[in-house]
Assembly symmetry: C2
Homo-oligomer: 374 residues x 2
């Protein structure tokens, strides 16, 4: 297994390469008439991201194609991708997700065995996609991160946590969004989520992009950047089409918007909000990301341990594409099993056709890496 993981993660830019592969096979979300195809794509992008006088010339061209003169397709650069083509079987649209809200202790071996048991239980209840919490193999603290960190790229004994995830994914034929663990890469530490396919192979790694540095005096102060380094790429994987963020990443609406424009069905955020930010924002932010982007959002928190240095809010949740809470938990250890039906996404986007109503003539969200790769 060590070799398998190593080969998959040998590219420094794995995350983006994963998504790039799919981008090449995806179609634009807005139908284009044959006449649209005449300008070179390069030229179109230059105009979309460089609002100079030439854009007015291009407007004339678009106006004959789009029902709207408001250039909704330009509200994202590059333009938003369509959802992936319908799968052959209904089963790929409709499946159960399991959110393992685990208790986490200072005993790493116990945490790994415990997580495995929870995954097995979720799978026995029919979950095909199983998610773990943020930092599930270690206490959540800057002191613990270096101690519990693993060399994921080395795999095997150097990363017992991900070795377990890979094995159990393969044995149970399930997809695992493996929460996160502290990752060591030479002299750097990351907060990293590994996504394993039902063949046990590592599909992608997401390193937390936005580090948790906040200061609400008398309530919660945490400076994750004291020990951790931020990741360099958004991460989208094709086990369904899943965008991944970790905890504080959820606060940045731009990341969810990028994922939606990359054709995501589902955003998975392992997270550990606390007793201040949890009641304030945990549910709000996931519902907002789901409703604004018209896709599913799933979160998975550790169970609450009132005696821990950092007390997690819990409340792992699945939200539907109307921003509706479909299933949730309280704060104790539990497994949330809930049904996802990707076909609902198309329905909601027909009900509220936001993507066709955006004002690309007034605003544009640029996905920098995707644009640079084109």
């Amino acid at each position: 297994m060590k070799a398998a993981i190593s080969s998959l993660i040998s590219s420094k830019n794995l995350n983006f390469h994963c998504s790039r592969t799919t981008l090449l096979h995806s179609k634009p979300v807005f139908p284009r008439s044959p006449s649209f195809l005449s300008p070179t794509p390069t030229k179109t992008h230059q105009i979309r991201t460089n609002f100079d006088k030439t854009s007015r010339i291009h407007t004339t061209h678009f106006s004959s194609i789009m029902a709207s003169s408001y250039k909704p397709e330009q509200a994202r650069a590059p333009p938003a991708l369509s959802l992936p083509a319908p799968p052959v079987t209904k089963a790929r649209y409709f499946f159960k997700i399991g959110l393992c809200q685990l208790s986490v202790t200072p005993d790493k071996e116990r945490n790994i065995a415990h997580a495995r048991k929870a995954i097995e239980e979720a799978a026995s209840k029919g979950a095909q996609l199983i998610m773990l919490p943020e930092i599930w193999n270690s206490p959540y603290s800057n002191d613990s991160f270096p101690v519990y960190a693993e060399d994921i790229d080395a795999g095997g004994d150097a990363s017992p946590s991900t070795a377990m995830l890979s094995e159990v994914a393969r044995l149970l034929k399930i997809t695992i969004v493996g929460g996160s663990i502290p990752e060591r890469v030479r002299d750097k530490l990351y907060n990293t989520c590994c996504i394993f396919g039902s063949d046990g192979k590592l599909k992608a790694k997401h390193r937390k992009i936005h580090l948790f540095d906040i200061d609400i005096p008398g309530k919660i102060t945490f400076i994750e950047s004291k020990t951790l380094t931020a990741g360099q790429s958004p991460t989208i994987v094709d086990t369904g089409r899943i965008g991944v963020g970790i905890c504080y990443d959820l606060r940045f609406q731009e990341l969810a918007m990028i994922y939606a424009a990359r054709g995501a069905h589902l955003l998975c955020y392992p997270g550990a909000f606390n007793m201040t930010t949890g009641p304030l924002h945990w549910e709000l932010l996931q519902r907002a990301r789901a409703a604004d982007n018209q896709l599913y959002v799933a979160t998975c928190s550790p169970a609450r341990d009132a005696g821990a240095g950092y007390v997690a809010w819990g409340h792992s949740t699945l939200v539907g594409p109307f921003g509706e809470v479909l299933a949730t938990a309280e704060h104790e250890e539990t497994i949330v099993i809930a049904e996802i039906d990707y076909s609902i996404i198309e329905l909601r986007r027909t009900n509220l056709p936001l993507q066709k109503q955006r004002r690309g003539d007034l605003y544009q969200l640029v996905d920098v890496q995707r644009l640079n790769s084109e």
Copy 2:
């Protein structure tokens, strides 16, 4: 008064010119060292919006200035503006807002007199900023819009609704965000909000940018674009620094992001969500806009009339910069009086310094009109 209004709205691009004036006097939100000032602003923007190879050269330059190498200042183009400089008196930071959740009837004269009374009542309770609902002088229907529409630019008898707003603003020395009314401009109709200063002068007009075209079968279907034309500009006014949207505009997170980057303290959305979208999204969206952009959000709905063709949800609300509901209403006619303290915005942005944590190296929201004007 007619002359006063006419002179103020003679420019076709009034809305943007209003904000442009302030932009020139604002400072960037991120401190720049003297060495930053050497490159020409034009060159900087070219690099920010045109992700070519030269951006790498520029990165080197930024890295000596920003604590972060993640280019948070590039997450908005042009870069986000600072909040306006502190006012001379505390009173300008701290004031009462009044949200007049009015009943609306087919009798226009009654609606105008009724709105005036409500404004007077709100002012008598100390409100210095008073907001009316979307379409408060007319039933909300495509049949009614042409019948109740007024020529706001002509003013006086041609627009009795805005004449009343101007007069009462001047007499009571209050600012009015005048909900919206159907506006006629030659052969076009708009859904338009007029903002009057405490001198009775029209500060800005916002024409609904995103028209309400939705279809949730068996629940709610409404195609506003059958009769209305969409506005062409975001609108921000300096009576405080207020960004204005109307109802469906609230669904588009990009608009709120633009306003925040233009230095808004408060977003005002007159709106009339319905019995389907109201319970689903009314509170969620305003809380999300407030929390994501760390500013105040106020909404004002008509009171519910179960016998009307379009049944409004009600629930006019003020939300604080942590996304917390500060004051709200049920569905019956009422006036919500609530306190706003703009200094809280800075506090929340210190607690959660999102604007310094954004990843301008990964995403960028472009404010097209502001960029073009530079």
